[in-house]
């Protein structure tokens, strides 16, 4: 009987892995294609476009691409992007969690109105607000610095606030009530009870925040007016000119390189998603 169960379980495990890998191939294809293409010599890029593996692999595109523009290499763009992404990610995650607690747990006048205003910020396309926003930031003398990109993240972002609100609303209220009976004020309750319980949500938020600010391009395009301040996404888009010659190999190579940090952050953070948080221990 035990034997049968075990073989059944082994069979299920095999089916699981085959299924996951099978679908996974379609998922990983883009990365493989991009990585492969970045190694193709110029002659192969268009003639063997759908091939993943180059016939004569070369690292030349990495050398050419890394040089960047003039004497500003990709090292500069990496540094800029890293500063922006790390700061905005931390700022966004903590400020959004803090704000979310207010919306999720506390009752106060006009709450629904403010919440609706918050969602409305997502519904008006950013592109159309660009000009008024630019005029405003230029009056503040923020143009040509990271400020217009970084500072707004200290005030939370609707997407993350709403997301964490939904997570907090899933946490049994008995937990914070117990804390309040123990004499915690609301701030202490937030930091000691709610925040730890929202780790999965905050980790998720951190992954997105990092990825979005890493790839963000409209704000850097408008507000960074010196190549020394450019981010990777901006630099990548400066490679190509539809009416002129474009070094596609360099674009592929630098695009591929630019994915690595995002991937590393994802892998580093997602392992915290595995530790399912049980509320059981806290209930006692």
């Amino acid at each position: 009987m035990v034997e049968v169960n075990r073989s059944k379980r082994t069979r299920n495990t095999i089916i699981y892995h085959v299924l996951v890998i099978g679908i996974g191939i379609f998922m990983i294809y883009p990365i493989l294609w991009l990585g492969g293409s970045s190694l193709k010599p110029d002659g192969e890029i268009w003639t063997r476009m759908s091939a993943i593996f180059p016939l004569k692999p070369t690292l030349q595109h990495y050398v050419d691409g890394w040089k960047g523009f003039g004497n500003i290499s990709f090292a500069v763009f990496y540094k800029n992007t890293a500063i922006i992404s790390v700061v905005t990610t931390l700022a966004l995650v903590f400020s959004s969690a803090f704000i979310a607690y207010g919306f999720a747990r506390l009752h106060f006048p006009m709450k629904k109105f403010w919440f609706a205003c918050m969602l409305a910020t997502l519904m008006l396309p950013l592109q159309i607000q660009l000009i008024p926003q630019y005029i405003m930031f230029s009056k503040l003398h923020w143009v040509n610095s990271f400020k217009p990109i970084i500072i707004p993240s200290f005030f939370g972002r609707a997407f993350f606030i709403f997301m964490i609100v939904q997570f907090i609303r899933g946490v049994p209220r008995s937990l914070d009530e117990a804390a309040e009976i123990d004499g915690c004020n609301r701030f202490k309750t937030f930091f000691t009870i709610i925040m730890p319980l929202c780790t999965p949500a905050m980790i998720t938020a951190a992954i997105f925040a990092f990825y979005w600010s890493w790839g963000e391009f409209l704000m850097p395009l408008i507000y960074l007016n010196k190549p020394k301040l450019y981010t990777i996404s901006l630099a990548l888009r400066s490679f190509s000119d539809p009416s002129g010659q474009t070094d596609w190999g360099a674009i592929y190579a630098m695009s591929f390189l630019s994915l690595l940090p995002v991937f590393v952050i994802f892998i580093a953070l997602q392992k915290y998603l595995i530790e399912g948080i049980s509320t059981e221990g806290l209930k006692g």
Binding site: H17, H107, L119, M123, I128, P132, G156, F162, W248, S258
Partner: protein, 299 residues
Amino acid sequence: MKIKKHSTRESIDGYLFILPWLIGFLGLNLIPMVATLYLGFTDFDMLSSPEFTGLANFIRMFTDDVRYWASVKATLYFAFVSVPVRLVFALFVAMMLHNNRRGTHFYRALYYAPSVVGSSVAVAVMWREIFGPNGLFNAILAKVHLPADTVWLGDPRFAIWTLILLVVWQFGSPMLIFLAGLKQIPTDLYESSSIDGAGPVRQFFKITLPMLTPIFLFNLVMQMITGFTAFTQSFIVTNGKGTPLDTTNFYALYLYSRAFESFQMGYGSAMAIVLLIAVALFTGLIFKSSPMWVHYESE
């Protein structure tokens, strides 16, 4: 109408918690938003000062702009097809990767990969390649003896489907949020129901789905908003042109093109106002319906 009583202490604390957002909203978001709302009622070419024209933009939009209606159609089609498919797929994959088997970490990275590639220039080239006349997609069709000579990106019947596939394939963000939601479901619920003899299917419908509804609500609202305001997919794949025959000319893309390429910022702003109202109504509907299907552990 019942008037809720708020305790003063709680109200103060509430405002203290949302204060950072409130400052940001009033200081940084409100001015551009109000300016946009105003500009919708003007003729503004961005470079000379705006001229008030009342409802002229709206009248033109609804009565004298064929491309406008094409963009509405393309956007609704895109949103109503891609959002449900993306959500179901994301939930399915999240369920699949929600375990402690060996290799799960690796698999998650694998499934998140498409979303990481995002909207870089390289994606545009790759997507055109996959759906090109001699691309991967047609090669697969040929292998299984299906007609393989469709020019997917150039055919008005199919072009939008390539964009739908692109966005479904980049399902990483809702998937990750579902995954985090699954992680938050107290494990003791499953344990006690197992003792009661519930199988996995029953557990899914009795525990997982109800417990996940707050997250589902979030994903639904957000995906709807992003669906209605979709821009990037068409911007990179069709080079911002919405070709062929305006079938991929998303609302936000058309708005952008009017504003920045044809210097009609007033008209673009008016389009943005209509978009805001439509999305707000739709989101309001979802919220109104939510007490019927969203289950909050805390209430």
